[in-house]
Subunit: 159 residues, 2 copies
């Protein structure tokens, strides 16, 4: 089944190229960006300012192609693509939970962004721990690599 989506806005961040980007929000602590929602969708932002965190869903517009086995950023072993957060995916959809600082008109000011400048926005959802947060978890290969994400920056493998 094919599905077609249309961007509802654009995400702006200090990251103009993939190299040097933090690879997840934990490595992007404090980094600020803006989300410009197209005016025709602005009405849908009502009530969002009550939430401290939101989930941005976006299109990895700079990623093309994919491999089903990849050597992730936090590891030296090849892993199955779906066990990683690598951006080169069959459907290059990204999700990031970011802090919402304020909303001015149809522009959202956000913090802890790990997203490339100019990324097309597909959806915004409120972050709701009751839905999104899991109390107990096992981390697979990432268990060993945990903590490294804060320090690591992206390299050319994500292009």
């Amino acid at each position: 089944m094919n599905v077609q989506y249309r961007s509802i806005g654009v995400i702006h961040t200090p990251f103009r190229k993939i190299e040097g980007m933090p690879i997840q929000p934990s490595g992007a602590a404090g980094i600020r960006g803006t989300v410009d929602v197209y005016p025709e969708y602005a009405e849908g932002l009502k009530d969002l300012n009550g939430f401290s965190h939101i989930i941005l869903i976006y299109h990895f517009h700079e990623s093309s192609g994919f491999k089903l086995i990849v050597t992730p950023f936090l590891d030296s072993e090849p892993r199955g693509l779906f066990a990683t957060r690598a951006p080169k995916r069959p459907n290059p959809i990204g999700i990031s939970a970011v802090r919402l600082l304020q909303i001015k008109g149809s522009t959202l000011h956000v913090q802890n962004v790990d997203i490339l400048d100019g990324t097309p926005l597909l959806d915004i959802k409120p972050y709701v721990p009751e839905f999104d947060r899991q109390p107990r978890f096992r981390l697979g290969w990432l268990g060993k690599a945990k903590g490294k994400a804060k320090k690591r920056k992206s390299d050319s493998r994500f292009e």
Copy 2:
């Protein structure tokens, strides 16, 4: 910007119609389903079995159209669409964090599903608390409605 995606599998659950469905995983506790990943993507599932929870990204195939102001399930006040998790959205993309029980071949057995049977799968990501979990949060209008999600079932407004 238009983007085109192609489903990489199908999600199967006991929910054959929208009415009566739990509206989020917290209301779907214990409900089991399967995710049939198309064989050509099976290789990408390697290493996923180490994770206790995964994020399913899917297309709300039974939702058509949207309104920017909606009266959500857990509330009686009209709210901005992006401050809700309603399925009728400009881009009807759903995300659910579910428990991964086991993987047999290219079929994932999952628990706590709040998804309609036959839903097209777009992506699978490992659930990583360091990326996905927020330690402190404010819930906006949902703060008052919190806890109700467990009891509520879907009605016709989500079709």
